[in-house]
């Protein structure tokens, strides 16, 4: 499983959910850098999103050894993944994003979920981890 950082960004560029997974055995000491790079890539995503009608934006940005893929939902909520070094094929990333999209729609439909709030549900977290194991 490659080292990667997955984040869901809502309105006003607020992160709603973050998940970091590292390759086995390595200590993670670059979390802040990854967050910074992901935040900077939001500008690139914003430029691309008005030119295209697609949901999946493939690879949007590169920095040193990091590459970033993005996916947009109907409500312009962004799913971003930052890969450190090797990354999986576009198809498996797209399938991962599609499954996360379904989970996101279900969370959004909950009237008790405050709009643009962080997602705290433990079952959401466990489902995301299952998807990561399956597709990434």
């Amino acid at each position: 499983m490659p080292a990667a950082y997955f984040v869901i960004v809502g309105k006003e560029d607020c992160p709603l959910y973050e998940l970091e997974f590292t390759a086995q055995g390595r200590k993670e000491d670059q979390s802040q850098l990854k967050q910074f790079i992901l935040h900077a890539s939001l500008d690139v995503v914003e430029e691309l999103q008005w030119g295209s009608k697609e949901l999946f934006l493939k690879s949007v940005d590169k920095f040193n050894n990091f590459s970033i893929s993005a996916y947009l939902t109907a409500g312009y909520v962004r799913f971003l993944i930052l890969f450190d070094g090797e990354r999986k094929s576009d198809d498996s990333i797209k399938q991962f994003f599609t499954e996360v999209h379904e989970l996101w729609v279900k969370i959004q439909l909950n009237p008790f979920y405050e709009l643009n709030a962080t997602i705290d549900s433990p079952s959401f977290e466990s489902k995301i981890k299952q998807l990561v194991n399956r597709y990434l």
Binding site: A74, I107, N110, F112, F124
Partner: protein, 219 residues
Amino acid sequence: MRAQFRVSNKLLPSITTLDATNNTTSSIVAPSSPGKQPLVDILDVPIKSKPKEVSMSAFSFLFSGIVQYYQERLTHGADLEQKLSDLGYSVGFRINEIILYREKNPQRKNRVIPMLQFISNTVWTMLFGKNASSLEQSTDSINRYMIYENQPIECGFISIPKNLSGLQCSYFTAGIIKGILTASEFPADVKVFPSQNKESTVFIVDFDYDVIDREELWK
């Protein structure tokens, strides 16, 4: 012909089984009694297929309860419209995602006209079972569009008393439109007026000028 107002009833399991933090309470088992189902995690409920329709009478009953609830607590008529609009806003914000998700080939809408066509056709069909009567652009101002609706269904059973003759209960639908537009990054203000010939209702959508500037930029 009885019109049907469709509302996704997939919300119902989540209202009864989740607390405010989205935690599933499946570890707490309700005392077993005949007919009681185990608590369900909303993340397991399938949403891809179209849900069952909700009957017109059930929705009208609920809507009349909502209107009466607000009316008892408000003194000024215009506030009722604002409250209905706010209620519709939170509905619209949420259904925006699921309507697009259910399409065969989901694509985002990134221009004003396709977005409004999406609302007057797809959203209207999902809510009311038919398309809106028409969609027009105003010749007076560049940011104004109108959606005409000849028979607003949600107000079918509401009779307006004489002392509140200007009241428009279609503000609930206007709130839904506003929620969908705001969620899709087209901030707009939506108002309801009876149309010129008093027969139909018109939803006047005024986009923020940022949206218009963006349209110009990407033409």
